[in-house]
């Protein structure tokens, strides 16, 4: 399930919907990204998230599908906001539910890593020197690439009941 919206979201409500009625879920891992008041050494008073309507939804749907292909998941969720946000505001929620804890953790980590380099969002930060577009980071590209290594193990169903 993916959603792109200007409004804030309630983590509890979102996760409840994701797991409701499925008692075969043993583990639910989620990650929330928030606006920090500091980035590097510039103080951030606010930021604006621009995105590419249409392509964003396609990209997020594709990222979810890839996670579900790699791990045995009961459900996944991506909610991403756009528009003007303040320090402390929630930007994104990703979550993965599985029978098994390792699958939930790895899939959730994968979702945010891939989203960061593949979903068409751009951050414009308000700084004391005016608006500044955030640069893409090498560490994010590396975080994405690590999921492409042949060594990444996909847990089997057999030996890791939650």
């Amino acid at each position: 399930m993916i959603r792109v919206q200007a409004e804030d979201f309630d983590i509890g409500v979102e996760l409840k919907k994701l797991t409701a009625g499925d008692a075969s879920i043993g583990g639910l891992c989620s990650f929330v990204g928030l606006v920090r008041d500091m980035a590097g050494s510039d103080e951030i008073s606010a930021m604006t998230l621009e995105h590419y309507p249409g392509m964003t939804e396609k990209a997020l749907t594709d990222i979810e599908a890839q996670a579900q292909e790699r791990w045995p998941l009961n459900g996944t969720l991506i909610v991403h906001r756009y528009g003007r946000l303040q320090p402390g505001d929630q930007i994104v929620l990703v979550a993965a539910a599985s029978a098994h804890r390792e699958a939930a953790f790895e899939a959730c980590h994968f979702l945010i890593d891939w989203l960061k380099t593949k979903a068409p969002f751009w951050k414009l930060e308000d700084t004391p020197d005016g608006g500044q577009w955030v640069d893409a980071r090498d560490t994010d590209a590396a975080a994405t690439d690590r999921w492409l290594q042949p060594g990444i193990s996909v847990p089997t169903d057999a030996d890791s009941a939650e």
């Binding site: 995105h51 994104v92 960061k116 380099t117 893409a136």
Partner: protein, 83 residues
């Protein structure tokens, strides 16, 4: 062809999108960019460092030699920074 620009590429071209008639003989993203640069200085500046530009054709990432046609939606933007 619909061309879209996002983030600082949009700011540099001065418009979020435009519709053009794709000239005969332009078959790849690279060729489209080269042609745009000939049309106006704003494209010269926006595409000065092509390594900083990402391209999507019909909302899918493509490389510079990706094929284009007059019915396509082509988008130019910086590396993404969401999440």
């Amino acid at each position: 062809m619909k061309i879209m620009y996002f983030a600082w590429v949009r700011e540099m071209t001065g418009k979020p999108e435009e519709n053009i008639e794709l000239p005969e003989g332009l078959a790849t993203v690279h060729q489209l960019v080269a042609w745009l640069k000939l049309q106006d200085d704003v494209y010269q500046r926006a595409f000065a460092d092509e390594s900083m530009i990402r391209v999507a054709v019909n909302q899918e990432y493509v490389s510079g030699d990706g094929p284009i046609s007059n019915d396509d939606e082509v988008a130019f933007f910086p590396p993404v920074t969401g999440g």
